[in-house]
């Protein structure tokens, strides 16, 4: 039984703590006890019919509420997961299509180069020029000495989740964005790199490094941290220039603060795959 005086006693004795003690020790609604006490005092007769109707209405209301909540939760969940599954399978099939098309491009490319090799004179001036241009355009797989730069996001452990789901901004979840990858790549070009790949995606003159959602897109292909940026070039010039650049000192500072992982090393052999260049449609040679 609830003693109406007990809460006030506990509250008086322990202050705010008493409130919590009351909460745990006296879970019963004091209203029932109060009404019962009042009725005892006045000796009121129970209003049977009215009571029953009220109880029934209240209980029915609770029943409706519970079942609505149940239906709502269980009707929504499958719909959400269905949409999610559909989207995932769509993405998967699109990725498969892209891979198949990529393979087709590669076979056609090799056919083209076969045909070209047959037509062009061996080791001629023309072939050399073409090869140089194709290396510059990034349509030829290349290897050589170079540098490997690793740029990785440090997983943040101390980030407090936002009070409401969906309000977490990108900046708090991933430290590295397209700008970081781009600045490293641009610095490498500036330092004399002849070919660059980001996570094995060859950069061509028309390549774009962008940011969408939480992924860095290199030529519309998502890449994730850690970003491995390979560059081919004269190791002495490339590494020396790169090491003394502002970009490197910035990322070294950030790595020292523990925000990112950053390292680079000279490599005796770097392999870079061929990239695909969109065909030039509109530009024409002026002369």
């Amino acid at each position: 039984m609830t003693q109406p005086s007990a809460p006030s006693r506990a509250t008086a004795a322990f202050g705010a703590q008493g409130l919590l003690l009351d909460l745990i020790n006296n879970p019963a609604d004091p209203g029932y006890a109060a009404v019962a006490a009042r009725r005892m005092k006045r000796d009121e007769p129970r209003q049977q019919v009215k009571d029953k109707v009220l109880t029934a209405v209240g209980a029915a209301l609770i029943g409706v509420l519970l079942v609505v909540a149940y239906l709502h939760t269980h009707r929504i969940a499958p719909a959400t997961s269905r949409t999610h599954d559909a989207l995932v399978s769509k993405v998967r099939s699109a990725q498969q299509d892209a891979r198949a098309l990529q393979q087709q491009i590669e076979t056609l490319q090799s056919q083209i180069s076969d045909v070209r090799d047959r037509i062009l004179p061996r080791a001629g001036q023309l072939l050399n020029e073409l090869q140089l241009m194709r290396i510059e355009a990034g349509t030829l797989a290349v290897f050589g000495s170079g540098v490997l730069v690793t740029l990785g996001a440090q997983t943040k452990s101390g980030v407090t989740p936002a009070p409401r789901a969906g309000s977490t901004s990108i900046a708090t979840t991933s430290t590295l964005t397209d700008r970081d990858v781009r600045s490293v790549v641009n610095e490498l070009w500036h330092d004399g790199a002849e070919a660059i790949s980001v996570n094995d995606i060859r950069l061509t003159p028309t390549s774009a490094i962008r940011f969408a959602g939480q992924a860095v897109l290199v030529d519309f292909q998502p890449v994730t941290s850690p970003y491995r940026i390979r560059a081919i070039g004269d190791p002495d010039v490339l590494v020396t220039n790169f090491a003394s650049s502002a970009v490197v000192s910035r990322y070294h500072t950030l790595a020292g603060l523990g925000d990112v992982q950053f390292s680079f090393a000279e490599q005796p052999r770097v392999d870079i795959k061929a990239g695909t260049v969109a065909a030039v449609h509109y530009a024409q040679a002026a002369s």
Binding site: T55, A56, V57, V64, L66, A69, H72
Partner: protein
């Protein structure tokens, strides 16, 4: 007894009528459910202690739902909605648990 029948009727009505919840009321649904469960357990306990009162039962249910929704609503407006929902659930959850324990003592005398 009448309450059990009425609740069953309410459940059936909910299944049959299939009312849709407007999206702006959605965040209050879980809170309302917890408040409703608190009212049910409180009422059950009062009934076992022979002090059940229909008015208290209905008023406590309605006001619990209303106050809980208010707390969440204002919390939402002021940017502490998640924390206040947790507070409501914790408080009502403790009450449900305590009432369930009291019911257990009444029923099993243990």
């Amino acid at each position: 007894m009448i309450a059990v029948i009425a609740m069953a009727l309410g459940v059936v009505a909910g299944v049959v009528l299939h009312p849709t919840v407007p999206p702006e009321l959605e965040p209050y649904l879980p809170i309302a459910v917890v408040a409703a469960m608190d009212a049910v357990f409180g009422g059950l306990r009062a009934r076992l202690e022979h002090i059940f009162d229909a008015k208290v039962f209905v008023v406590s249910f309605v006001s619990n739902v209303f106050v809980a929704a208010m707390i969440v609503f204002f919390g939402d407006q002021l940017g502490v909605g998640g924390a206040l929902s947790t507070a409501v659930v914790v408080v009502l959850g403790i009450r449900i648990f305590g009432n369930a324990a009291a019911i257990r003592r009444q029923v099993f005398h243990a």
